[in-house]
């Protein structure tokens, strides 16, 4: 089944909140070779004006995993994970993610473009904090092939 063009504009509920933990930030920083002390040392982060360790810029993708799962769980999406290639990724920040943040992501599918049997699917997740303030918007472009689950 090809990707369903009616996903564009569909209303997805906000994800359940994600509480950013200090050890998770340290674990992720180590995994992406982000060795700057702001990511691991609370004192270094506080010296920059943050309450706790600062997550590396691409940590936002971890918070948006729940929105990818929402997309895959739509029974009529036509999207099967093993046929998905990550083509482009963008982040637009209002501020960095910091340990202690309680974040929610809201998914929207903003574009689907057919490319032969495949489709380029553009999705955005807007991540906000517990006060409802914008933190970061992630934009992913996925190249989705057609195939059986």
């Amino acid at each position: 089944m090809p990707v369903n063009p009616e996903l564009v504009g569909r209303d997805f509920p906000p994800t359940t909140s994600y509480l950013v933990g200090r050890e998770k930030v340290r674990e992720f920083a180590r995994a992406v070779f982000a060795d700057d002390p702001q990511h691991t040392d609370p004192a270094a982060a506080q010296a920059l004006g943050y309450a706790d360790v600062v997550a590396p810029p691409t940590f936002a993708i971890v918070v948006t995993d729940a929105t990818l799962q929402q997309l895959l769980a739509e029974p009529d999406s036509g999207i099967v994970l093993q046929n998905v290639l990550h083509a482009e990724q963008k982040f637009r920040y209002s501020r960095p993610i910091v340990a202690g943040d309680e974040l929610t992501a809201k998914l929207s599918v903003t574009g689907i473009r057919a490319m032969g049997a495949a489709a380029m699917v553009t999705s955005e997740s807007e991540i906000t904090d517990a006060a409802g303030e914008h933190v970061v918007t992630t934009t992913s472009i996925l190249l989705v092939g057609e195939g059986e689950a």
Binding site: R30, A31, V32, D36, L48, P56, E88, R92, T139
Partner: protein, 143 residues
């Protein structure tokens, strides 16, 4: 976040300046570590049989690992990752991580454009002589 003394380091940027560079050695352990830290357990990033079955030349680095280590290159120069306004890449070529010899990913960060409030840092990210990310650009606040 707040005004600080590092701000002055950004006023004299010239297009073409190299602000940071490094080479990161990836091994299969790096991929397993990233899988665990990120929650991305797609087996093409740790199983040779699955990678071969879907027609890949070998086990690949996660694109988001490559994207993450690329921007980490400029952070010691930048001082505060809160200066990053946006960051985007296109994934064009895979980074194949050999089970014995791993893979070396090289990142060179150059000033691509400057205006009154920000600078665009262009990241050239290569593996085995090939550019693996295209339009890898970080816009940073310089004021």
């Amino acid at each position: 976040m707040s005004a600080d003394s590092t701000g002055s380091a950004f006023t004299a940027l010239t297009v073409g300046d190299v602000v940071a560079e490094r080479t990161v050695h990836l091994t299969r352990e790096s991929l397993v570590r990233y899988a665990g830290a990120s929650g991305d357990f797609n087996p093409i990033h740790y199983r040779d049989d699955v990678a071969a079955a879907v027609g890949l030349p070998g086990v690949l680095s996660h694109g988001m690992l490559t994207m993450g280590l690329a921007v980490g290159t400029i952070e010691p120069w930048l001082g505060d990752s809160g200066r990053i306004l946006d960051y985007g890449v296109r994934f064009t070529k895979p980074v194949v991580v050999d089970p014995e010899t791993g893979a070396d990913v090289t990142v060179v960060a150059k000033v691509g454009a400057v205006d009154e409030e920000s600078a665009r840092i262009d990241l050239t990210v290569s593996f085995d002589g090939t550019t693996v990310l295209v339009k890898a650009q970080v816009r940073v606040r310089t004021t």
